[in-house]
Amino acid sequence: MPDPQRFRHRLRATLPLVVLVPGAAVMIFPFVWMLLSSLKSGAEVSHLPPTLWPHKFQFSNYATTWRTPPQTFGRYYLNSFILAAGGTLLKAVIATLAAYAFAHMRFPGRRLLFAAFLATMMIPGEVTLIPNFVTIRHLPFIGGNDGSGYGGHGLYDTYLGMILPSAADAFSIFLLRQAFLSIPADYWEAARLDGCGRLRYLWSVALPMVRPALAVVVVLSTFEYWNSLLWPLVVTNSEAIRPVQVGILYLQGEFNSQPNLIMAAAALSILPMLALYLLAQRQFRESVAYSGLRG
């Protein structure tokens, strides 16, 4: 004899699924459709009405995408890895240093400087886009430029040019500073009495204690560098250093009227971040929860 009260309770806890499950299906349909399309043959993908399940799984589409035009996709991929890894490493290092100083060191102008750092978060990228482009191109004494910034191309069309403008990030510094603040000052006192220097203390004592915050910064930064489009697009010129996000828009023209190959390209470019998301869901959620402070 089922308890009616319990039954009602159970019903109320499962009723939302009637809406949520179809909703989730709609949300992931584009990914499913992408994968299915990417495995169809050229004839099948252009067939009307479209088939849902591929008659024959043509896995060679991925190899074709990777190889045509020769060396292109692999190169884009490598560039994205360089961009994401290099940018994230640089960002994590300089953000850690600044965050630690703001949290545990005393120096004149600390508050003012921190406020100035935070102020950069309120400026939209569209305003900084053009002046930063000019700055990167006309950096004096770099990339063949003379002292007045002319004659060469500065950091235009270089990896560093893609990385540098977003390498310092006030949000990351803020996040890490909050984490550092939770470390009691006594730790540093004890370490200092033992003859430990600032940097060694930071590396071997403080940093391990803020690992969760550092993980959020690293995951978020990897995503941002991997997914960035506008800046790498305008600040580069040669396909040889362009990342995947810019590259697949170019491939879109190259694979004109071969949607199965375009879908394979899309799947390939999504794959690394999809894996990272599934592995680092917690960090990703935390970074979203923190973005309340980011607006």
């Binding site: 479209p50 305003v127 002046p131 697949i248 929860a289």
Partner: protein
């Protein structure tokens, strides 16, 4: 024993930084400089230089650029000429017969407003419903949360290609569904018809208003659907953390008082999460207003063969939002770098005004528990 005593001593002061370093030198310094970690400047320097050069300086420099006619190099100082051009003819214009019409920047601003209002409205409303339902279920909760969040976590450019394929006029699955339902196929991202005219046409109405006032074009609507799909996970996540922070007693009290279903949502849950709603509205409005990638990825040329170097902006410029306008002026045209910079400051001004307005209007209706 000594260690614990040490700790007590240290924590009794206002932080370790107050401790003067040993040595005669410290005694000669003025008291406010005693115990200063001079090395701190070296720690802050790399971030400080980069944020200064690429974060703060561009505001002044960008404004300076906007006062020039600027191509590859600065060509001619024009003062406020670029702004005069925007406000003189590019925002609102007269056609040959003297009627008012939107200039290119005005059209872009209107497109931006359509895009922002629709994306934010749909995304925040849907997010609340989904988050509230997710909050109530136990089974499958983690899996569902992961799935709803997936689009936000993946690359916009790549998922944009998928949407272009889904809405392909010939082979897309969207048209296949319409045909199966006996409805006429659409050209989607190639269709500049305003949605108002499109929806009224089947019932025989054809309003005599200019196209610009009849809502976003069908193409822009597809972009909006894409953006809602893309940003929904973010808003759901924010609502979920807002809901789980609510005091349990209040929710339970509502249950005991017999407030169930819609009444509980309307009178208990919605007021309680209103700070979250305010944050989401302000934040997603700013994000939509500044959005570039979703629009660019969907309308930079389509499967017809775009190599990323043609003018973006969709059919008849109906998906040409302000960011796309800036990009086109800056990247695709000669001599318009200064002008593009001026448009970017227009965007900044409108965005700031909008944020202020939202805080004023909605702030009053927000309950901080």
């Amino acid at each position: 024993m000594t260690i614990s005593l040490d700790k007590e001593l240290a924590s009794g002061r206002r932080g370790p930084d107050r401790l003067a370093p040993p040595g005669a030198k410290a005694r000669r310094l003025p008291s406010r400089l005693r115990g200063v970690d001079w090395v701190a400047y070296a720690y802050v320097l790399p971030s400080g230089v980069l944020l200064g050069v690429f974060g703060l300086w561009p505001v002044a420099f960008g404004f300076w650029i906007s006062l020039w006619q600027w191509g590859i190099v600065p060509e001619r100082f024009v003062g406020l000429g670029n702004y005069a051009h925007i406000f003189g003819s590019d925002l609102v214009d007269h056609d040959a017969s003297g009627h008012l019409q939107a200039g290119p920047v005005g059209q872009a601003l209107l497109n931006t407003i359509y895009y922002t209002v629709a994306t934010v409205g749909a995304s925040v409303a849907l997010a609340f419903v989904i988050a509230y339902l997710l909050f109530r279920v136990r089974a499958l909760r983690n899996l569902l949360r992961t799935l709803f969040f997936l689009p936000y976590a993946t690359t916009i450019t790549a998922s944009g290609l998928v949407f272009v394929w889904i809405f392909d006029p010939q082979l897309g699955v969207a048209n296949a569904v319409l045909r199966a339902l006996g409805l006429p196929a659409q050209t989607w991202l190639l269709d500049p018809t305003p949605i108002g005219r499109k929806l009224l046409a089947p019932i025989g109405l054809s309003p005599g208003l200019p196209d610009a006032l009849l809502g976003p074009s069908v193409a822009l609507c597809v972009v909006i659907v894409f953006s809602v799909w893309n940003t929904l996970g973010f808003s759901v996540m924010i609502y979920l953390s807002g809901l789980s922070a609510l005091p349990r007693e209040l929710m339970d009290a509502a249950d005991i008082d017999g407030a169930a279903g819609w009444r509980k949502v309307r009178h208990v849950v919605l007021p309680l999460v209103s700070p979250t709603t305010l944050f989401l509205l302000v934040y997603t409005t700013a994000m939509s207003f500044k959005a570039f990638t979703p629009i660019y990825a969907l309308t930079q040329g389509g499967f017809g063969g775009g190599n990323g170097v043609q003018r973006a902006g969709g059919p008849l410029g109906t998906t040409n939002v302000l960011t796309i306008e800036i990009f086109n002026d800056f990247y695709q045209e000669q001599n318009k770098v200064g002008y593009a910079s001026a448009v970017s400051f227009l965007l900044l001004a409108v965005l700031m005004l909008l944020t202020l307005l939202q805080f004023r209007l909605l702030g009053r209706r927000t309950h901080y528990a």
